[in-house]
Amino acid sequence: MNMAARQAFLSPSPQRRPPDRRRAVTSLPLPPQASPRWLVALLLLHRYSLLATLGLATCTFSVYGWSVYSQQTWANQYRQLEQLRRDERQLTSVNAALYGQLTQRAQEQPAGLVLQKPSKTLFLPPEPQRPWQTPKAADPGSEPSSPVGY
């Protein structure tokens, strides 16, 4: 709307004013025109692409979050693995050193420990293998005739 039109609107001449406003305003029926197909298609596209965008954004964020989370988990697990390996190494070497020291001490200060001698060893000859016996089928006659529980 340009300035001239605005001025004309603001100062209407009283003479030309219709006596009844309500009668002057008539609602014009809109012509029953169908929206053009392309517009409908665009509107639909707009609606669905919005939904798709929202969905994709959610997916993206969750995938991103999952990748960060799994990376963190992996890093933690890797650290734990390293720590466990280190513990294992230490356990192995300390265990071995301890064994070495103990045996050496036992030899230097036997404190009652002596070299094992055959004369002080009990040899148990292995029992010959017994022949296989097929277990006898249970005698049906020996079954208690009445329940023994009470």
Partner: protein, 602 residues
């Protein structure tokens, strides 16, 4: 014109956006095209880390899984004072390090003021210590990972296992000979790090996390090795001997169960010892075996048909071969032995009898047999620096009858103690020449053997019958002959003593220097183990194979019996369990400071 201002405003905004966009695009192009390469490098420097996972040298374990050698990561701490942040003084750094390293701060300050860069502050730090230092986050301190080899059993198996030097290279023993089996290498892997410094899982090469936990298993039995070393040490002390060795081998497959040579060294502190100790003389040094070789000669004579087990020979105690006198060790005390059977010749260890037995063979045939047994070659054991045995040239051996005469009682040629064990094993296993070996194979994490070295197939040199006949004769040596000191009640042992003169460096023999030895084959009924003890230059008039070496073999066999649960072949001979056992030669703990006059054990 009312429309003009609006259009210009729109144009202005549009132009601003356009210029802004173009500017950003230009900057992007500049960053990408002009500085792209250098920026990428910079980013990679920050994000990528060359990760070298700790790949230890393989563990070495004995046949029962006892660890003999294991790798441990250690750290060296370097300081680069020129990288210290401004305001950080060496005093502050020293104060922070002092409680961790447990060193006085003043020393550290002095050390830190020496140079501007690469000052080695500490070495062989544990992983915890290195972590604590890294957590201080002081610029200019650097911890460098290295590996250190630990030998938890100290000197117990040093002659077999060997040691590694500062650069982690094997220098002796199987550490040297089995480098390929022990070493593993992995090129450093480039991995990306995230902002927090954690590793990124992407780009991790496959197999990066799988650790190769295989260990090298030896045929050695640590318990047997310990007993052997203990008794050998005591006997060396008792007889003030120069050096000694004990070898135990399984005759069936050539697996070495114990290999001890004294004196030895502690591989954890190899730098404190003399270089000559790093040589395992049971495979590097040759000696003349003396009478311990007589059973082999008897087997040769039997196999060729030159004699039968019932042959008789007259032993005058002393004979002369091509003008050279040859006499029995006891000629001055006993004189002539008279008529002797072959087993009696072995029992009495008669030199003259042996000369007469071997005289039944043509020297060419005898020489051919010695060569066939591998004399002049080495055994092919998987230990380093093995020396081939030495034997005279064939022309000389055939031309001079004294050569075959001295060879008859084990002199005039030389071999390693290990080769003698290999030859004696042919008698124990029915005539097969097996290759001695110390590496049993590779064990996986579950302790299962998944790789074994391929050994040449054993070579049949004697018939089973000959071998068994000689074993029976050797049994008499322990029951009634010179080897009675090795008797174990309830068991039968075949054996042979040896007391040989030592060859001098300039030819001929040294006057009072001798090597005493004893070889035992056990159990005589079903021979399986060969035990050899060799003592070099024992002092004293009563130093013979029977007095010095046989008690060692006895103690080792007793340990074999109890460790492997071998039940007695003659249980009726066993003393009652509740009876007080007669103390053996090594049952008392040696005094800590034995002086010049130790009481020799019989």
């Amino acid at each position: 014109m009312p429309a003009k201002p609006a259009v210009s405003r729109v144009l202005l905004v549009w132009a601003l956006l356009l210029v802004g966009g173009l500017g950003l695009g230009l900057r992007l192009a500049l960053l990408q095209l002009q500085q792209g390469t250098s920026l990428r490098e910079k980013a990679q420097q920050q994000q990528l880390v060359a990760l070298r996972p700790f790949i230890p040298r393989r563990q070495v374990v004995d046949r029962n899984g006892t660890i003999l050698a294991v790798d441990k990561p250690v750290y060296t701490l370097f300081a680069h004072p020129f990288l210290f942040k401004s305001g950080v003084t060496p005093e502050q750094v020293a104060a922070a390090l002092s409680p961790i390293l447990e060193k006085p701060a003043a020393d550290l300050v002095q050390r830190l003021s020496q140079k501007e860069t690469t000052i080695q502050i500490e070495y062989w730090m544990s992983e915890e210590t290195a972590d604590r230092i890294n957590r201080l986050r002081i610029d200019g301190l650097e911890t460098v990972q290295q590996q250190r080899r630990l030998y938890p059993l100290q000197d117990l198996a040093a002659e077999v296992v060997g040691y590694v030097n500062v650069d982690h290279e094997g220098q002796a023993g199987i550490e040297y000979a089995q480098q390929k089996l022990l070493e593993r290498d992995m090129p450093p892997v480039m991995l990306a790090r995230d902002g927090g410094g954690s590793l990124m899982a992407a780009n991790v090469p496959p197999g990066f996390l799988d650790a190769d936990q295989a260990s090298v298993q030896l045929t050695l039995d640590v318990r047997l090795q310990r007993t052997a070393r203990y008794v050998l040490r005591q006997q060396l002390q008792n007889f003030r001997a120069q050096r000694g060795a004990v070898i135990v081998m399984d005759a069936n497959d050539g697996a070495i169960l114990a290999m001890v040579s004294e004196p030895t060294y502690n591989p954890n502190r190899y730098y404190d010892y003399d270089v000559s100790l790093f040589r395992n003389w049971t495979v590097t040094d040759l000696y003349e075996p003396g009478s311990t070789f007589k059973p082999i000669n008897v087997a040769i004579a039997l196999e060729t048909g030159a004699i039968t087990p019932d042959s008789h020979f007259y032993d005058p105690g002393q004979i002369s071969v091509s003008g050279w006198p040859i006499q029995n060790f006891d000629y001055n005390d006993v004189g002539a032995h008279g008529e002797l059977t072959v087993p009696q010749i072995l029992e009495k260890s008669s030199n003259v009898g042996m000369v007469q037995i071997m005289a039944q063979l043509q020297p060419e045939v005898y020489y051919g047999w010695l060569e066939r047994l591998g004399l002049g070659q080495n055994t092919g054991v998987d230990l380093p620096f093995e020396s081939p045995s030495q034997i005279k040239r064939q022309e000389q051996f055939v031309a001079y009858s004294i050569e075959s005469a001295t060879a008859a009682f084990g002199q005039g040629f030389s071999l390693t103690p290990l080769q003698l064990v290999q030859l004696e094993a042919t008698l124990a296993n029915g005539g097969r020449l097996v290759v001695p070996h110390i590496v049993r194979g590779l064990l996986n994490e579950q302790g299962e053997l998944f790789w074994q070295p391929s050994l040449p197939p054993p070579r049949q040199v004697f018939s089973t019958n000959t071998a068994q006949t000689v074993i029976r004769m050797m049994q008499g040596v322990v029951e009634d002959g010179t080897g009675q000191a090795a008797r174990v009640p309830g068991y039968r042992i075949a054996g042979k003593t040896g007391t040989a003169q030592k060859a001098g460096p300039n030819g001929g023999y040294l006057e009072r220097a001798k090597i005493t030895s004893f070889v035992g084959i056990f159990p005589a009924g079903a021979p399986r183990y060969i035990v050899l003890a060799v003592i070099d230059e024992p002092q004293g008039d009563d130093a013979f194979g029977s007095t010095v070496a046989a008690p060692i073999v006895k103690a080792v066999i007793e340990n074999l019996i109890t460790a492997h649960g071998i039940s007695p072949s003659h249980p009726d001979e066993m003393p009652a369990l509740n009876s007080e056992p007669t103390p053996g030669a090594f049952d008392t703990v040696p005094e800590p400071a034995p002086d010049s006059s130790p009481s020799p054990t019989p």
